[in-house]
């Protein structure tokens, strides 16, 4: 069943070297009153890999992502980030740790431009205070230039130069998704959590988004953990997949291993055709 990967990392099918464990989840259980959303799940995320969490509706995927992001505190079990046990945290503390995320339902500031929205992603890194920013001279201005330069590189990377100054509210859905990804990237995360990055997209938009995810993993070495419904996308993109069903983990491994796992086939994928 689940293949255990060495602590030191492993080499993927296409020859990429994956690092050691970045995050480890040990025996996580999450209860909301009488409802058990997650039941005794353990898995890990290695440094530099693309890790997917899949499962039918209501399997507990988003809850799992919220546990990883620190938004939910598990009822039982421990979360280790960079080998350190993580206690309850405030959202800004999570951001400072180097974890950024996008949301299933886009959460951007509609009235602000794309550029300003992405700039908010760098909020935790801005050091100058309110007063010096208001006067905007010397150090504060220099600091903003530096952040702007970083943001411009992300704009270039995600090819959204043409909407730089457009208010987000006027953008079509597919582009909003891309802007949200840009904002998450602006925080220069170590671990990037994507909650259904392709939901509601057409084929072309999905292809673009897949390309961006692969490229940013390749280019910046960002570790990515994503939830996705589109099987084709998940199997093509990810290095390892966790499969959930009714709050339990029913499979864990490379896409090929998961695809041939009988429990997974029964629960989710249907019967394999050869």
């Amino acid at each position: 069943m689940p293949v255990s990967h060495a602590e030191e990392g492993y080499v993927t099918a296409d020859g990429r070297q994956i690092g050691g464990t970045l995050m480890e989840l040990r025996n996580i259980t999450l209860r909301f009153g009488g409802v058990v959303a997650i039941k005794d799940i353990s898995f890990d995320i290695h440094d530099g890999e693309i890790r997917a969490i899949i499962g039918p509706n209501g399997a507990g995927k988003s809850s799992m992502l919220n546990v990883i992001s620190g938004f939910y505190i598990p009822t039982e079990g421990d979360v280790y980030f960079k080998k350190v046990k993580r206690g309850p945290m405030k959202p800004y503390e999570v951001a400072r740790l180097g974890i950024a995320r996008t949301f299933q339902n886009i959460a951007l500031f509609d009235g602000m431009s794309v550029l300003d929205n992405i700039m908010t992603g760098r909020l935790t890194m801005i050091k100058s205070g309110l007063l010096s920013q208001a006067i905007w001279y010397g150090a504060a201005a220099r600091e903003e230039y530096q952040h702007r330069e970083k943001v411009e590189r992300i704009i270039d990377f995600l090819e959204i130069q043409n909407i730089r100054k457009t208010p987000v509210g006027r953008l079509p859905y597919g582009l909003k998704k891309r802007v949200e990804l840009a904002r998450a990237l602006a925080a220069e995360p170590k671990l990037l959590l994507l909650d259904e990055p392709m939901a509601g997209m057409n084929v072309e938009e999905k292809e673009d988004m897949s390309r961006f995810i692969l490229d940013l993993n390749d280019e910046f070495g960002t570790t990515i953990c994503l939830i996705e419904h589109d099987m084709g996308v998940v199997m093509d993109l990810s290095d390892r997949v966790v499969v959930m069903d009714y709050g339990r983990k029913i499979g864990d491994g490379t896409p090929d291993e998961v695809r041939n796992n009988q429990d997974v086939i029964d629960a989710y994928l249907g019967v394999a055709h050869d």
């Binding site: 296409d14 702007r148 270039d156 130069q161 043409n162 490229d215 390749d218 280019e219």
Partner: protein, 654 residues
């Protein structure tokens, strides 16, 4: 052509011009590119250093004299530099259309025997790899954008920046060789090889020498008084001869600045920031901009709308005359000046046209109202007529003599003559050397005396000496009474009406002309909505009596304008019908580039053509259609045939 040989002191190649510019304009900006939201710029001296290092890099991977160096990418300074660097090494730059599919690219790369390829990004590299086994001579690939390239096999590939660094590192070894190669370049060395887009058969490689490019640049720059302070925006495909002349030939000759947009999608914003003084665009760009302006004005408040309508009426009345320096009354001038303050100035600024001194359009017919719109704003928009084989310029319109229906007078240094069949021939210093590896085509296009057949039919207006192009020569025919029949000329006039999407005119060898009309569903549908006309399908709308009435009005207007033309007056439309389906490339009725295929249409709709000429007023017809997924179906319809009034012909005063 002894008169075109320059004095020995004048630079005889693009690299020599570059060296001259470094001395003459060293500190002026040569190239700009918007990247990371900021305009990056390079002076002539800086550009020269970059270009030399690319050339050294080329030598380090073994570029030989006469090798083809293909460049595939969007307009970026580095791609222009790679072309000049290739010339420095004695190699031949071959820019390719970046949106070509791998298959089309394979033909060109194979045909030119490309040994080195400079790709813009991963997408282009992927295409080259896909067809790699067919391009046997390929030795090395360089790419500009590193993104996504990390995992590729780099044994015969590296980034242009790395190639430059490699060249600079070995400069002791290559410097002397490079200088020798540059000094070997002459006026007759090949400057560039451009593949014609190939609407008819396989693309042909047009070989243009330094003489072709530099002489053409020199003449055309003098014609429009271009100078080192002009600015252009380079956004048209690099494989197209126009971009090569504007962004390479003229830029190097006059020393003006070439600005590259951040991406194709930001073109309009970038253009506004740069404010070019010299601009070229095909008619569809101007058309698209005008539509945008009109839509936004429709949505604006009442006061703004009134201001716009009022001052645009003034502009249409006096704008072109003011632009042409004709006498205009003081009151009108004042009125126009007010309009400039309130409407034209801000509008031009939004469009990026505030500083335009010279603007050109060419390639296809431009609608009169579009042309007039820009000219009435005070934008000096002109037309030119050109070809890849002529290094662009054959004729162009001088300032102050601009008209919608002519293409101007022969460009300086160009001789133009009209053949017996009405075909236009030219001879010029820009006339191409040959088609690469295709002596038959060269011989059939260019005769021993250097005259080149354009394939277009036209004539010189006796009063003004301006050339008018009427049609492709092969489509031009004679009516039964011997008068000239030019279908495309009439079709273009019809297509200028927004309600008419396509028109096909018949009449070769017949007594009179008839036409098929395709209505534009968006425009006519809109019109129907406003006029409370209910319809359930395209077919029903097309057959509606009121639509027929409207189209008849357009046809009659066209007839009046044709009647005013002494040579083409025989082409008035006597009868027409509105087709029950749109002409479609899937049915083979049009090419993929939306050009009408006359032969196929006249075979397929022979019954309809018969009815147009036998006097019936309706006909029942069945037509086979192909759906997008390849299935075939049949539609039936009874079409009405309408008569159009003819206008009295105006005989030219003897």
């Amino acid at each position: 052509m002894a008169d075109t040989i320059p004095a020995a002191a004048e630079p005889q190649s693009i690299p020599a011009l570059l060296a001259r510019n470094v001395g003459r304009y060293g500190g002026l900006p040569a190239y700009r590119e918007k990247e990371f939201g900021i305009w990056q710029s390079w002076t002539w001296a800086q550009a020269n250093a970059e270009i030399r290092s690319i050339a050294l890099g080329f030598l380090s991977v073994g570029v030989e004299r006469g090798d083809s160096v293909a460049v595939i990418g969007r307009n970026r300074p580095r791609h222009y530099w790679a072309m000049i660097a290739a010339q420095m090494c004695g190699a031949i730059p071959v820019p390719l259309y970046q949106d070509a599919v791998a298959e089309e690219m394979a033909y060109v790369l194979e045909h030119c025997g490309a040994r080195y390829v400079v790709c813009g990004d991963q997408e282009q590299v992927d295409k080259v790899i896909e067809i790699g086994d067919r391009v046997k001579d390929l030795k090395h690939v360089a790419y500009t954008d590193k993104r996504g390239m990390r995992k590729y096999d780099h044994r015969h590939m590296n980034s242009l920046a790395d190639l430059q660094a490699q060249g600079v590192a070995g400069h002791y070894r290559y410097e002397a060789e490079l200088d020798t190669r540059i000094s070997e370049l002459t006026y007759d060395t090949t400057c560039v090889m451009l593949y014609t887009s190939g609407t008819t058969g396989k693309p042909k490689g047009v070989v243009l020498s330094n003489r072709n490019i530099i002489e053409t640049a020199k003449n055309s720059a003098a014609f429009d008084k271009l100078n080192a302070l002009d600015e252009v925006v380079a956004y048209l495909p690099m494989a197209w001869v126009g971009d090569f002349i504007f962004s390479m030939g003229q830029a190097l000759w006059t020393g003006f600045t070439v600005n590259c947009p951040e991406s194709a999608a930001t073109m309009m914003t970038d253009m506004r920031e740069i404010g070019p003084t010299y601009f070229f665009a095909p008619p569809r760009v101007f058309e698209g901009q005008l539509t945008n302006v009109m839509i936004r004005m429709e949505d604006s408040g009442r006061v703004k709308k009134w201001l716009f309508d009022h001052f645009m009426a003034v502009a249409r009345r006096v704008g072109p005359s003011i632009l042409d320096g004709k006498p205009v009354g003081a009151l009108d001038r004042l009125h126009y000046a007010l309009g400039d303050l309130f409407v034209y100035g801000p509008l031009k600024n939004t469009l990026g046209f505030s500083r335009i001194r010279v603007g050109y359009t060419a390639g296809e017919a431009i609608g009169p109202e579009i042309f007039e719109f820009y000219r009435s704003l005070g934008i000096n928009l002109k037309q030119l007529y050109g070809q890849t084989e002529a290094s662009v310029f054959i004729t162009q319109q001088p300032d102050g003599q601009v008209r919608n229906d002519t293409v101007g007078v022969p460009s300086p240094g160009v001789e133009v003559k009209i053949g017996d069949n009405g075909e236009v021939y030219y001879r010029s210093p820009g006339t191409f050397v040959e088609y690469f590896k295709n002596p038959e085509s060269t011989a059939s296009t260019k005769d021993a005396e250097g005259w080149v057949a354009t394939g277009d039919a036209g004539y010189f207006e006796p009063e003004t000496g301006h050339l008018r192009i009427i049609d492709r020569a092969k489509d031009v025919g004679k009516m039964a009474d011997g008068r000239l029949f030019a279908p495309k000329y009439v079709e273009n006039k019809l297509k200028f009406y927004p309600s008419i999407l396509e028109a096909v005119v018949f009449g070769n060898g017949r007594d009179y002309c008839c036409a098929f009309i395709n209505i534009d569903l968006t425009a006519v549908g809109n019109w129907a909505e406003r006029n409370n006309i209910a319809y359930a399908s395209y077919q029903e709308l097309a057959g509606h009596a009121k639509v027929y009435e409207m189209i008849r009005g357009h046809v009659q207007e066209v007839n009046r304008s044709i009647a005013a033309d002494p040579i083409l007056a025989g082409c008035q439309i006597h009868r027409f019908l509105i087709l029950h389906k749109e002409l479609d490339a899937d049915d083979g009725e049009m090419t993929r580039t939306r050009k009408v295929r006359r032969n196929i249409i006249s075979e397929k709709y022979a019954d309809l053509i018969g009815a147009l000429y036998d006097g019936r007023d309706s006909i029942y017809t069945e037509t086979e259609v192909t759906y997008e997924d390849g299935r075939k179906g049949k539609i039936t319809a009874t079409l009405r045939i309408a008569d159009a009034e003819l206008a009295p012909e105006q005989r030219r005063a003897a």
